[in-house]
């Protein structure tokens, strides 16, 4: 597998003129910012592509970008039924970390984190990646013990991870309430200092622009409604705008994975559930670490605009309506206010939901399928944003070589037959 190379932010850009920089900013200021080149074209679909990627979320766009930049495959289209990044990519709370317990997970998430660390440079697009640290809280003796055990496993994989006691947590996060009389007291926590957040839209836009520059067609508002399959091999897709032929098809549609698998004639071990988030009115900087709690299902960070971004646990029932139940939000906010009493007077601005693709072992599927040349990348559930660069990178490798590499091999669909599950429920099932 080739390592992505950094060529000073010019990857995929045809000319110096298109590069975003302080100079291009100044140049465009003269014309009142009215002459910026379009970041990507919206071409009419061709009749045939070497590879079609279904789903223009971060994962799909990243896949197309790496197909073009790493594997020289440029006759590629990304097709989305809505607008680019309008799925979970544009709805998530953007927590990025790689502190998963099992070796297989460490492999994919750490691969991804390493790519994040160079992504803005590589794409010449500010993804606003901020390694502000992700602190996960423990609220019981048992949870703390389990956390210590997990931290050792994570460290053995070379991933940074430190246990903090309540006093250290209070020092790091002055607004947190560490009163031991809380219903769920802060007993300790563990931090990954290289973890953090990024701007979700920027990730989609940055990959789209770079892929477009390498010749990838990005086709929006075009739903894939079926597959053309000949002798057990995919030959193209049916879309709302007519059929398109393809040598290979990669499907990266998150909550709709089961629907697309159904169209191709097989089933997945995936349930689609609503996951909700909300943001408050913007306030002055008050929290410069991401705080997560798996036991009270509360996640919070402060955006660069000053909004507090809250995430909750997934709703319990299957749904394709991009909204969930209010009691989930109520429960999460109750926990948030107990841990951060200062939040009690915050007004919430917006809440929304996305449909997440949850797998029984809370690990993704990056795999070949029963149909030749048709590949699926799904099952990221509540926590796939952090994996966007890594997932796209290894999925492109799988599609280009028709062979899993050492990172993707464990995430095969076949693990649900041979029983080699990657059970990350403790680490990822409810957390992001």
């Amino acid at each position: 597998m080739k390592k992505p190379r950094s060529n000073f932010g010019m990857q995929g850009l045809r000319s110096e003129k298109e590069k975003y920089s302080i100079f291009s900013l100044a140049r465009n200021a003269f014309t009142h910012h009215e002459n910026w080149a379009q970041a990507w074209k919206s071409p009419e679909p061709k009749t045939e592509y070497d590879v079609i990627i279904i789903g223009g979320g971060g994962h799909g766009l990243a896949t197309a970008y790496y197909l073009a930049s790493q594997h020289g495959m440029k006759n590629v289209a990304v097709i989305d039924k809505g607008w680019l990044g309008g799925g979970n990519t544009g709805r998530n709370t953007t927590i990025i970390r790689s502190n998963y317990m099992w070796d297989e997970s460490a492999g994919i998430y750490e691969h991804s984190l390493k790519l994040w660390e160079k992504l803005s440079q590589e794409l010449n697009f500010n993804t606003m990646f901020s390694q502000r640290g992700v602190l996960t809280l423990a609220h019981s003796e048992h949870e703390l013990k389990e956390m210590n055990r997990r931290v050792e496993a994570i460290r053995l994989n070379g991933i940074d991870s430190d246990v903090l006691n309540p006093a250290q947590i209070k020092k790091l996060v002055p607004i947190i309430n560490i009163n031991p009389n809380l219903r769920y007291p802060v007993m300790g926590g563990f931090i990954q200092r290289r973890g953090g957040t990024a701007r979700h839209d920027a990730v989609a836009w940055g990959y789209a622009r770079a892929a477009d520059n390498l010749g990838v067609d990005i086709i929006q508002n075009c739903e894939v409604t079926g597959f053309n399959i000949k002798n057990g091999k995919v030959a193209g897709v049916q879309t709302a705008n007519g059929p398109i032929k393809a040598g290979k098809v990669g499907c990266v549609v998150a909550g709709h994975a089961g629907v697309l698998a159904g169209l191709a004639g097989f089933r997945l071990p995936i349930d689609s559930r609503p996951l909700q988030a909300l943001v408050s009115e913007p306030i002055k900087p008050i929290l410069d670490t991401v705080i997560m709690s798996n036991s009270v299902h509360m996640y919070v960070s402060q955006s660069d605009k000053g909004e507090m971004v809250f995430g909750a646990g997934a709703d319990s029932y299957n749904s394709y309506a991009q909204k969930g139940s209010l009691n989930i939000i109520e429960g999460m906010l109750a926990a948030a206010v107990e841990l951060f009493p200062v939040f009690s007077r915050l007004r919430m601005l917006r809440s929304w939901g996305g449909i997440v693709d949850t797998c029984p072992d809370a690990s993704p599927i990056i795999s070949k399928t029963p149909i030749d040349n048709l590949y699926f990348n799904c099952g990221w559930g509540t926590g796939g944003f952090k994996a966007t660069p890594g997932s796209g990178h290894v999925f492109a490798d799988l599609i280009a070589r028709n062979e899993p590499n050492s990172i993707t091999a464990p995430f095969t669909l076949n693990r649900f037959v041979d029983g080699y599950l990657i059970d990350e429920h403790g680490a990822a099932g409810v957390a992001h």
Binding site: P269, D271, N318, L326, V417
Partner: protein, 117 residues
Amino acid sequence: MLYIKCPWCGYRDDAEFHYGGEAHIKRPFDADSLSDEEFSEYLFQKSNTKGLTLERWVHTSGCRRWFNVLRNTVTNEIIEVYPSNQLPSSQAGKEYYKNNWRRKSAAESLTTRQVEK
């Protein structure tokens, strides 16, 4: 929010209930005779339908009884609520039950314990 009509307690907010997933999954009686693929199909594969679906709920904070629901997963409309040991009686529910892939699965063909009437 879902507004679910418990057959015993009437309409309640879904906060009072727990979800039990897909309804009418029958445990294969003689699981040892299934291949790994067939058992995986029973254990892991999901219908996860976009549209009408048959599912189980339990009224945890109320009467604590289980029952089945026919719901549209796109609109969240609840079309039918019926006892957990019965089959749906609405036309849409009957059709969904009949056409569901599990009826033809190897696991189900091995079930000897027939609960429905």
